[in-house]
């Protein structure tokens, strides 16, 4: 759990990556998916998730669809065309960052 600060800067990339693998997702589903994929190591707080989703939407990277589910409204997020391109860019940046860190921390392995 002490790693939460390290993950913080990658929250938007995580959201974009998940949405690139799923047609559309809602907030709760994103938190649960992250929790399951990281075996509980990374827990996205609700207070950080929704502002991040709204920012991505305001930037035109996500599109929103509202549907009525079980007598209540649910907001689904999906990638726009621009969002798909941006996901590829951000994943490439993240990959580069991971490799640089690898060079720094484990020079013998590289």
């Amino acid at each position: 759990m002490g790693n939460q600060k390290l993950y913080k800067g990658s929250l938007q990339t995580i959201i974009l990556k998940l949405l690139s693998e799923n047609d559309k997702m809602y907030g709760y589903e994103i938190t649960q998916k992250v929790k399951a994929l990281t075996k509980g190591e990374l827990k996205i707080t609700e207070g950080a998730l929704y502002p991040a989703l709204h920012k991505l939407e305001a930037e035109g990277l996500l599109d929103v669809e509202v549907a009525k589910v079980d007598n209540r409204l649910r907001k689904y997020y999906k990638l726009t065309e621009c969002g798909t391109k941006e996901t590829a860019n951000r994943l490439a940046q993240l990959d580069e960052f991971i490799q640089t860190m690898q060079h720094l921390l484990n020079p013998k392995l590289t």
């Binding site: 709760y28 707080t45 207070g47 709204h54 589910v69 409204l73």
Partner: protein, 221 residues
């Protein structure tokens, strides 16, 4: 696994909780309500607890996100639930940066091009821009009022677009006082502000309307 079905009273209880926390902005309220209900559903199904216990647990989880707070980016006078304020900061920050950067850049430019500048042209440009500027901001403001719905975008519109718009007219007043004998920095400030206010105003108005139309379909507003 049996699906949890909430009663009207239970839904009303969650709604009341959101009212108390002053989460009245539709773009956040409905998805947070859905999130809380899904949390409760999960607890009832997996932990075999009652609605009351699950609701209390969910409230504890959300407590931090609902603390009333303000931000320097929005001005310390404006308070709201943390999750809402954070959401607004993320929308507002690029506009503030743009405003500061463009003001600095154009002011510097105005000093550099001073000897070459046609003062008369700038004056007429201002005369043409002003009525368009006033009409647009008033039209958006009326449309937002008519919609009778609160969103993060309308919150930012009322606080920043209207405030900057009024502030801008103080500069305009000075512009007409000094007229065009010398190239006054207020000429530039006025126009830069006007374009920034128009840009942000349009963005917020457009997104507010988009948000309202999404929820209007379900007749919840």
């Amino acid at each position: 696994m049996k699906k949890v079905k909430f009663t009207k009273e239970e839904l009303a209880q969650v709604n009341r909780y959101l009212d108390i926390k002053e989460l009245c902005y539709v773009d956040l309220r409905y998805e947070i309500m859905d999130h809380i209900l899904l949390d409760i559903e999960h607890e009832i199904t997996h932990e075999k607890v009652t609605f009351e216990e699950a609701f209390k647990k969910s409230c504890d989880k959300w407590k931090g996100s609902f603390y009333s707070e303000s931000s320097y980016w929005l001005g310390i006078l404006f308070r709201g639930p943390r999750v809402f304020i954070d959401s607004c900061v993320k929308i507002q920050r690029p506009f503030l940066i743009l405003l500061v950067m463009s003001t600095l850049l154009f002011t510097l430019l105005s000093v550099l091009i001073k000897p070459l500048f046609d003062f008369e042209l700038l004056f007429y440009f201002t005369v043409v821009v002003t009525p368009i500027y006033i009409s647009c901001v008033l039209y958006w403001w009326i449309q937002l009022k008519i919609s009778r719905t609160k969103t993060s975008f309308s919150f930012l519109f009322y606080r920043y677009v209207i405030m900057n718009f009024l502030l801008n007219f103080l500069v305009l007043y000075q512009l007409y006082e000094t007229r065009i004998e010398t190239l006054n920095l207020s000429d530039f400030f006025y126009l830069i502000f006007a374009f920034n206010v128009l840009y942000q105003g349009y963005f917020l108005y457009k997104n507010h309307q988009k948000e309202v139309s999404r929820f209007n379909k379900y007749k919840v507003l």
